[in-house]
Symmetry: C2
Subunit: 378 residues, 2 copies
């Protein structure tokens, strides 16, 4: 069978597909934005994913097209499909990862649990929503937000005027998403893989710890999640995947509310930071599973390999030089930690790697993972 997978985008998610592709004998070809990106080893072409000719030429060299990110324009995605290219996830699904307003509308149609939300086109409408939700809310731009960007806590109807003005100027459908400020115990993430033929596989729900809007740590499985919570999270993720026809990996970011409900926060239709622990922590990693899913191959077992797996991101800055400069210390002091280095310059605030540690004592595993990551961030 044909197993050449084309990945649009050369970031660390494409990079981490390479080991899984090498093991399974899958030919992985990356369309990278620039030379020397994280996935450069598999860079088959370099070009702009917003250029239809670039993307079409790349697609002709592969059996299936998938993604490192969700930013390829709908018109190009639909052109690929019209040309008979297998695109996973497809444009009809990616639409909901690209536009938070459409996502909220669709999830609401599907009867899935989401925070109270509204589409607001001006400060007056925002004011109405604030009045109905205790005077505080979260405003999100429908498009282009990630890692906390495009998200703002507001307590006054004029707190988003600059965004309303910008939206009016750029001629897009000028609306913002406003959501209730959810009071939550913690944030969770549920990963699911889905094949075009419909088979799905879920991993145990994980707990994610965010810092400054960026994922900092992941604990797999989420503590005290066995039973009802795990079943509910898995059911929600499968209903989302089936409901919007996701193919490949889907990550559903969830709030566990103070009153014990699960509400859907965000969706990511690709391997996701909350699943990096699975490289060592699961029988089948999210990267291998993504490749299997987009090729419509049978999905692998998602059993945990350790009672606990903890992933801690390595964020760039203040350290200078390369992460490898710290290897003599990090690897000597932490022989069981699995260090992942994305080959990116460690600029402040940038995700440049991660550490995963597995074991049976959660406190020890958390300590070891944090201590290893800290060596790279002194």
């Amino acid at each position: 069978m044909n197993t050449t997978v084309g990945v649009i985008g050369g970031g660390q998610l494409a990079r981490m597909m390479i080991p899984a592709a090498v093991n399974l004998g899958i030919d992985i070809r990356v369309l990278a934005e620039n030379e020397g990106m994280s996935a450069a080893l598999a860079a088959f072409a370099v070009g702009d994913y917003r250029d239809r000719e670039v993307v079409l030429a790349f697609a002709e060299t592969v059996d299936v097209v998938t993604f490192d990110h969700e930013h390829v324009p709908q018109e190009i995605l639909r052109l690929l499909v019209a040309r008979g290219v297998a695109v996973h996830p497809g444009p009809d699904a990616l639409l909901y990862a690209q536009d938070k307003l459409l996502m909220r509308e669709r999830l609401t149609e599907l009867g899935l649990p989401v925070p109270d939300w509204a589409r607001v086109e001006n400060s007056a409408e925002l004011g109405v929503f604030l009045a109905g939700h205790g005077g505080r809310a979260v405003v999100k731009t429908a498009r282009g937000g990630y890692d906390g960007k495009g998200v703002r806590l507001v307590s006054h109807e004029h707190d988003a005027d600059d965004w309303f003005t910008a939206l009016a100027e750029d001629g897009n459908d000028g609306a913002l998403l406003v959501e209730e400020l959810v009071e939550f115990r913690r944030e969770l993430a549920q990963q699911v893989a889905r094949r075009p033929s419909g088979e799905v596989a879920v991993w145990p729900v994980v707990e994610t710890v965010q810092k400054d809007g960026v994922c900092a740590e992941v604990i797999a499985p989420a503590p005290l999640s066995e039973g009802r919570l795990a079943e509910l999270a898995a059911e929600i993720a499968v209903r989302v995947a089936d409901g919007i026809g996701v193919t490949g990996m889907l990550a559903v970011e969830l709030f566990e509310t103070t009153d014990g409900r699960l509400l859907i926060n965000e969706l990511a239709m690709r391997p996701h930071n909350s699943g990096h622990w699975s490289i060592e922590g699961s029988t089948t990693s999210q990267f291998e599973q993504h490749l299997r899913a987009v090729l419509d191959l049978p999905l692998g077992a998602t059993t945990n390999r350790d009672p606990w797996s903890v992933m801690v991101n390595i964020i760039g800055g203040p350290m200078e030089g390369s992460l490898a400069d710290r290897y003599p210390v990090a690897l000597a002091e932490h022989p069981s930690a699995k260090v992942h280095n994305y080959g990116k310059a460690p600029r402040p605030g940038r995700k440049v790697g991660h550490v995963t540690v597995g074991g049976s004592d959660l406190d020890e595993v958390v300590y070891e993972a944090r201590a290893t990551a800290a060596v790279f961030q002194d």
Copy 2:
């Protein structure tokens, strides 16, 4: 620090270094014999490893040179060292992997346990050895043998005359190695990694099952090896690595004799088929450890991740086409098996992939690994 590793040889051992290099952010560059080899993804150059200019030019682009095989001529290895290139393992160690007579002599000097052996230059000398060892023995060419080639069971002094003639003709030091026919319970293999600075790490001793002189299955750890046997195997391997100054991975193939001794059969100074199980079965795989060792980085933990890991090779033929043609069946029926596909045409008798399964019930693990591999060999 500098972490560009050059690998001479483009086979599956180089290929399986790629995932470890990607994870650790090590720049791996392969000098492949031809286009489209197993390690083609990392092929930085294509050329003949017996051509000094080709090898020297390649070496100038990397921080350390290591190997997929042991066939690079001594003169070229020594030229690299003379030019100041870091070569691991170095020529003084590789010599003993390249020449079985020198290996036997050196191991005997080191007081390590080996079968009775002799250097024989003609049929008369072979006859003397046969007379002293019950009329049967194993004759090996000193150079160029692998996977059973260059090894012959003899029971008459003239059974190796063709080899004596060939040796005389090719002008090499015209001697053969003759060894006693060891009566053994089973074959074992002990892996050890050693850094230039001297740190060593050992894995649990494994049992290897050979078919037609080729490794067919590996059970890790070797059943009933805990305690004395494991300690003795590890001690032997460390004494070999220290005694001949191996840097990188060393595999020591051992006979467990019917009277309970361990005798050294062969040495391999590179990642070895008997260690493929470690990709999933150990906290640190032999491929990651090899990269750490040749870069003189601290070695990783070698704890087993499952009570039992079993590796079964996938040998080419009679099936046609690519291994991936069997994925719809193999992956559906065996969701926990880890399939490794070397991207090689499945010619009869050729190692084209392997399967590793881990678990707590050895019988189930062996069954599952064999059943998965069998899907590719119908």
